[in-house]
Symmetry: C2
Subunit: 185 residues, 2 copies
DNA sequence: ACGAGATGCTACATGAATGTAGCAACTTCT
DNA sequence: AGAAGTTGCTACATTCATGTAGCATCTCGT
């Protein structure tokens, strides 16, 4: 009985994940998309979406939290704390670019801070990013006088642009870091 | 009689402009904002908004066109065709940053290409930007091997980030170009 | 074969946004 | 004062997204 319940729950979780992924895709294209459109993209009926996510707000919250986790996981996998700054930057760029399609919407907007859980995870990631940039500056990878906040925002922006293109993530990551550190001049 | 009509029309135009400006502000904050919210922000009643802009789509179209014109004007004022590339880049950066608050919404989304007039103006601006970047590369301001499309997108992104901060436009423009050409490393 | 869980479908209720119309009041110019 | 134009306000119709409920069906595990 316990096994059966587990199996059913696994199916349920899989459906929920499918819906969240579909919501990401659809909402990234049109933030005002309806639940119907999300359901259609997920290949389920609208009522099923409502079974998993009682209201639209709940869906948005869970999407933000889920995306934040994906994001945090990608950063964590990069071992940014224990490798030289330049290597860490490259690793994290590659990993983040890989999952970037999964949070082009969910990271934007006020959705990031809507749910406390999502906000917490995102704050952690940002703190880790700040630490990495500080280490990079101390190691001379970044210029001494550079504003760390500005550098981080430029970095985010470059990743965002790079994620628009489709191509090998290694090539894209190289281009992002090359542009970040040396510019295009 | 003709004079009176002209006076009334001038008032009318002023109101329409006020509404468009309000729409920019409100929609930039929340793309799904209602006509009511736009009207409130403009200090007029909802019915007045509907008098000027029959439907929501019309409002969006005219907003896109208006913003495109503001944008094009800022670029045109920079005389990018007749000054050295580096000077032109600085000039256009300053001018664009000045009006950036006026198109943070209207330039985004598919609104840009929604109305043919807006699309035409924007295409012109982009073409001018491409010419400027090509000249810059030929003059050695940009590296020889750099992808012009990538450079332009990075430039747009930097301007977008810079416009989020409030400060002296000259300082911001200097930072944008410094980052664009030399990076932060 | 049986039962539990999940889904699709239809139907319905509700609320919000949109768009329209009419009327009174106000401004401005003659 | 009178006329033309604009606006605010109220009221109304319509459409659409949201959220809920019931029922039939399907699948999977026993």
């Amino acid at each position: 009985m316990a096994q059966r319940q587990q199996a059913k729950r696994a199916d349920s979780q899989r459906t929920a994940r499918t819906i969240l992924q579909a919501a990401e895709r659809v909402l990234a294209d049109n933030p005002a998309a309806t639940m119907e459109q999300v359901a259609e993209a997920a290949g389920v009926s609208r009522t099923t979406v409502h079974r998993r996510f009682a209201t639209r707000d709940v869906l948005l919250d869970e999407l933000a939290t889920w995306a934040a986790r994906q994001f945090a996981q990608a950063v964590e996998d990069s071992r940014t704390e224990t490798t030289p700054p330049l290597v860490a930057l490259y690793q994290v760029t590659v990993n983040v670019l890989r999952v970037k399609t999964s949070w082009s919407f969910a990271m934007h907007h006020a959705a990031v801070n809507a749910h406390p859980e999502a906000a917490r995870v995102n704050a952690e990631v940002r703190a880790g990013c700040d630490r990495l940039f500080r280490r990079a500056r101390e190691a001379g990878v970044l210029r001494a006088g550079v504003d760390l906040d500005w550098a981080r925002r430029v970095y985010y922006g470059l990743i965002h642009e790079a994620a628009q293109e489709n191509g090998d993530v290694d090539v894209l990551a190289t281009r992002v870091l090359d542009t970040l550190l040396r510019g295009v001049g």
